[in-house]
Chain length 203, copies 2
C-alpha cells in the first residue's frame, strides 16, 4: 500500500477543493469518516437523498424539487409572487436570508457568483444573459440588485445595468450604510463614507 492509498488520495483531493476546506481539514474529514463507518454511511445516504430529490430551478437558479426536464422552484411557480419585480442575488443562501426577513414578495434570479476577470468568470458564467431574457419575456418592471458590497459585486451590478439599459427596466440597488445596532465609532471609513453620502433628509 502506498502511504496514502489511491481511493483515499482522490477523496482528499476532492474534499480539499470544497469551499471552506483546505488540505488539512480534508485530511481530518476523510480520516474521521474512515474511522466511523456509521458516519460515512450516513453521509452517503444524505448525499444520495439530496441528489435524488433536489435540483436547481431552470428559471431563477433557486433550489427546487427534482422533476422532469427542468425543475421549477416554488417561488417561480407561485402566481402571487409574479409582481414584475425580480431581485438578483449572488447565491441561494441570499434567498434564504431575504425570505427569512419576509420583506420581499417578488421573484429572484440567482447568478451563482460574481463576474471576476481575475478568476476568468464572465457574465455568461453567472447567468446574466438568462436575466436579460427574463426581463424581456416576463415583462419585468424593476430589477433589484442585492449583490455583495464588494468590488466584484459592484462590477457585476454595473454589467447588469448596462445590459438592461435598452429594455426600459428600472434598476435599483440595496441601500448602503449603517447596519442596525452599529455604533458610529466602530464603523470603517468605507461604510461611513457611503452612509454619509446616502444620507436621508428628515426635516
Amino acid at each position: 500500500m502506498a502511504l496514502i492509498p489511491l481511493p483515499l488520495e482522490r477523496l482528499l483531493r476532492q474534499l480539499g477543493k470544497l469551499p471552506g476546506l483546505g488540505p488539512r481539514s480534508a485530511q481530518r474529514v476523510a480520516l474521521s469518516l474512515l474511522q466511523q463507518p456509521v458516519l460515512l454511511a450516513d453521509l452517503q445516504r444524505n448525499l444520495a437523498d439530496v441528489a435524488a430529490q433536489l435540483g436547481i430551478c431552470g428559471c431563477c437558479g433557486n433550489l427546487a424539487f427534482a422533476g422532469g426536464e427542468a425543475p421549477i422552484c416554488e417561488i417561480c411557480s407561485d402566481p402571487v409572487r409574479n409582481t414584475g419585480v425580480v431581485c438578483v442575488v449572488e447565491g441561494i443562501a441570499d434567498i434564504w436570508a431575504l425570505e427569512r426577513s419576509g420583506v420581499f414578495v417578488g421573484r429572484y434570479h440567482v447568478l451563482g457568483g460574481v463576474v471576476s476577470a481575475l478568476n476568468g468568470v464572465g457574465p455568461e458564467d453567472v447567468r446574466i444573459p438568462q436575466l436579460v431574457k427574463r426581463a424581456r419575456d416576463e415583462e419585468v418592471q424593476e430589477v433589484i440588485l442585492a449583490l455583495g458590497a464588494s468590488v466584484d459585486g459592484q462590477t457585476t451590478g454595473q454589467i447588469i445595468i448596462d445590459r438592461l439599459a435598452s429594455l426600459g427596466v428600472a434598476v435599483s440597488t440595496l441601500a448602503k450604510g449603517m447596519p442596525v445596532g452599529a455604533a458610529v465609532d466602530y464603523l470603517d471609513e468605507g461604510t461611513l463614507s457611503l452612509a454619509l453620502a446616502g444620507r436621508q433628509r428628515v426635516a
Copy 2:
C-alpha cells in the same frame, strides 16, 4: 417547500459536525454540490470507493485494505517490522508523518484520540486496553509515546505508563525542545523551559 428542504437540512446538519466545518461552511459546501451535479456525483463515487476498498487495521488502528473479518495493515503484516517496539500515536495522520520521515522501523498503535474527562473520552474509547493486550501478547519490549505535547496528550501518556507498569515494558516519549530551524528568541516560555530542562551534555 420549507425554506430549507428536509433532505438538505439533514445534509447540512451532518456536514456541520465534520471536523473543520461549521454551519456556514456546511452551507457553502452543500450549495456548491447542489449547483454542480458533476462534483456531487464525483464525491459520491469517491466515498463509495473508499467505503468499499479501505478499512481499519484490527491490530493497530491504521488504514488497511478492506478484507474479510478484520483487515490487517501492511505494517502489521510485514515481518521485517516486528522489532518489539510499538510507537503509540493519536491518529493515522501521525503515522503518515512518521513514515514520511523514514526514521521508525517498528509498529504502531493508533489511539484514535486522547483521554479527555471534559469530553467524556475514557481510556477504553482510545484503545488503551488493546495496547496493553498487545504489549502482553506480542512480547513488546519498548513502547514509544508519540502523542501531542498537550495537557490531554500528557494525561493519556501517564495513563498508558501506569497500565503498562506491571508488564516490565520500557516506555519512552519523544524529546521536547527546539524544532529544527527555530530561533531562540521566537520560542514560547513553555518550549524554552522544556528545552533547557532536557539539555544534553556535549563536553
